[in-house]
């Protein structure tokens, strides 16, 4: 039982990271029909922004803020203006292919500029353990989960309770009608890219102390978050949350009770099952499209 609690808890911590990244997938899809196959690398890059700032002698809190700001500039503003906008007018597929190329570019650039080796990344969360029903619980795991979920709740509140959030939702639902109603659609789309950049930066700051900062660190995360977004429902933020948490738990239980070798296959089985029996995702909404 103690082992089971530990597995669920560490699964929730990893799943919360997947959820943060998966929300980015759904936000970009809803507002600009962008499927970002470089999302995993977007999680990897902010860690290196922070490490570069730390190397300049800055303290960790400042380095994290600089990392966040640089992420929003590079992975938000520049990504939208230099890649998404010019390519989107050619359709979703060319843009998706461009994001695949971007993923390779980011990995190779980090490898060349920084190093191919893994680097330690400092944690800003408390460490240590606490005993819970006889189980030795990692405070870091609990903190990652709590921090990520708080970020998601804050995002939900922003979208539901602020004027800007509601305008962003209107843009996501129907940009043409939103524009007629006077919503600055372009600005709302830019906000979405900035939010995505902030979410991946947060995911990076939370996971890099555990997985280490490495140019290839985004590969696993990107795939897991993509699966989580589809399993939960690509058009719903709550779907990305459910998908992320579910995937984190399933991944951990599969590794413990089935096999480490097959742990990577279990989420894919889950994905196939969802596509076959509930294509809109567990929490998603069926959408009709004109062909």
């Amino acid at each position: 039982m103690m082992n089971f609690i530990n597995l669920i808890l560490s699964g929730l911590a990893t799943g919360a990271i997947y959820a943060l990244v998966a929300i980015g997938f759904t936000l970009l899809w809803q507002t600009s029909q962008t499927i970002n196959f470089a999302q995993g690398e977007f999680v990897m890059v902010p860690a290196f922004f922070v490490l570069a700032t730390l190397n300049l002698g800055m303290p960790l809190p400042i380095a994290l803020l600089v990392g966040l700001a640089l992420s929003m500039l590079v992975l938000g503003v520049l990504f939208k203006n230099l890649l998404v906008d010019p390519m989107l007018r050619h359709g979703v597929l060319p843009l998706a292919i461009c994001t695949m190329a971007l993923s390779i570019f980011l990995k190779e650039t980090v490898k060349e500029v920084y190093s191919a080796e893994a680097s330690p990344f400092p944690s800003f969360l408390p460490e240590g353990n606490l005993i819970f029903f006889g189980a030795n619980i990692s405070i870091q795991s609990v903190s990652i989960f709590v921090f990520a979920i708080c970020a998601v709740l804050a995002l939900q509140a922003f979208l539901a309770r602020t004027s800007t959030g509601r305008q962003m939702q209107a843009t996501a639902q129907n940009p043409y009608v939103a524009k007629l109603l006077g919503v600055p659609v372009e600005r709302m789309i830019m906000y979405t890219f900035l939010i995505n950049a902030a979410l991946v930066a947060l995911a990076s700051f939370l996971i890099s102390p555990v997985y280490l900062a490495k140019f290839s660190a985004g590969e696993t995360l990107g795939l897991a978050a993509f699966i989580a977004a589809i399993v939960g429902g690509f058009n719903q933020i709550r779907g990305a949350i459910v998908g992320g948490l579910l995937l984190g738990i399933v991944d951990n239980l599969a590794a413990a009770y089935i096999s480490t070798q097959y742990r990577g296959a279990v989420p894919l089985f889950l994905l196939i099952a969802v596509i076959l029996f509930r294509p809109q995702g567990l929490m998603g909404r069926a959408e009709e499209r004109t062909v």
Partner: protein, 379 residues
């Protein structure tokens, strides 16, 4: 007079290239893991090989000829490693160095053996030198030398009865797991959890839970460097307090850097370390740190030794003879007093295995502390 001039010209045409060939640099090709999961291994190996080459060239080279070293990146992929060793052979080098990963060595060694070119590599899997590749040479101990020492320590010093074994499912990890399990069983120690993990694995939460479930008296960890660091961090996160024992890859400098505080308390047998009570090793570590600004791990020492092994064997032959180099390396004993670059007295046997001193070390306050020097097996 015209005839004399023509004779001179013809002679110069044929003799000049031969003279140039005599003074041409000795070409060594290093095929290593410069990217991918094994980047730590390959980068350390490469940097140290470059350091050794620069030192030797600064002193006039080998038998008056400079060394030229070229590096190929396997991307930690055995298929790429094999292709690159073939490419290296096509360039007709004097010797090949690397790879560092046993799986990559295993698939590339037949090519070097067929070409008759010495391959001085970093792999530690026990079987590598038992497969009959007569041009293959280690730069560190094989598992058949290190695992009995570790099993002895676990059984006699720790007095452990139950042990969990966490290993990486590749040629290196499987060889170590098989060897340590055999040695532990022979000493009456039971393996209560046998946990295989994947190369490049990021999340060790489930594996640590499985290891804890067997209530072990100690955990033996046999993973590559980055995975060792992640496993140590997860073991700390889950509050594991039993002794964590391993080989060089658990307590190397890079692992300590990556794992931070989580490495404290880990211990194991280590074949090569700059923290050893040995002046040559310390001097090498200082030179490396001055050049690259970090402390080298055992993979670095392997790359350094590899170049000096080639130098010593060539000087023993008294000529630069590509085909004669493998035979010159076999049975060679190199004394650090005569060749300080070899760092410790070293004997290479007919299979390409090494015999030399090794160490028992602990990680204390983020530093590797050598507690005991274990003598050469032949002593």
């Amino acid at each position: 007079m015209k005839l004399f001039a023509a004779t001179l010209l013809v002679s110069a045409t044929f003799v000049a290239p031969a003279l140039a060939q005599t003074n041409a640099p000795i070409k060594i090709i290093n095929v290593g893991e410069l990217s991918g999961p094994g980047a730590t291994v390959g980068t350390n190996f490469k940097n140290s090989a470059d350091l050794a080459v620069a030192e030797i060239n600064a002193k006039g080279g080998i038998l008056g000829r400079k060394i030229e070293i070229v590096h190929f990146d396997t991307q930690t992929n055995p298929g790429v490693a094999r292709a690159l060793v073939q490419k290296a052979i096509d360039e007709n080098p004097y010797a090949i160095m690397g790879p560092g990963y046993s799986g990559s060595v295993k698939v590339s060694a037949p090519l070097a053996a067929q070409a008759g070119i010495a391959q001085v590599m970093g792999g530690e899997a026990a079987e590598l030198t038992q497969l009959g590749f007569n041009t293959l040479f280690r730069t560190s101990f094989g598992q058949q030398s290190s695992m009995p020492k570790i099993a002895k320590y676990i059984a006699e010093n720790l007095k452990a009865k139950n042990v969990a074994v966490i290993w990486v499912n590749n040629d290196f990890g499987k060889g170590g797991r098989d060897m340590v399990t055999k040695e532990l069983t022979a000493r009456g120690v039971k393996v209560t959890a046998d946990i295989s993990t994947e190369a490049g694995q990021a999340d060790f939460a489930a594996d640590v839970v499985k290891a804890k479930s067997g209530n072990p008296d100690a955990i033996f960890i046999y993973l590559n460097e980055e995975e060792s660091a992640r496993a140590l961090r997860e073991l700390k996160r889950q509050g594991v307090t039993v002794p964590l024992v391993g080989e060089t890859t658990l307590i190397g400098q890079k692992v300590i850097e990556l794992a931070g505080d989580a490495a404290n308390g880990a211990r194991g047998h280590i074949g090569l370390t700059v923290d050893a009570p040995n002046d040559n090793l310390k001097a090498y570590g200082k030179k490396f740190q001055e050049k690259y600004n970090y402390i080298p791990d055992h993979n670095g020492i392997k790359g350094y030794l590899g170049v000096y092994m080639i130098k010593a064997a060539t000087e023993k032959m008294g000529k630069v003879d590509q085909k004669g180099l493998p035979d010159a390396l076999k049975g060679l004993t190199i004394l650090a007093a005569k060749e300080p670059g070899i760092l410790m007295d070293l004997t290479i046997d007919k299979n390409g295995d090494l015999d030399r001193d090794s160490f028992l070390a602990f990680v204390e306050n983020g530093k590797q502390v050598v507690k005991e020097t274990l003598p050469k097996m032949s002593k």
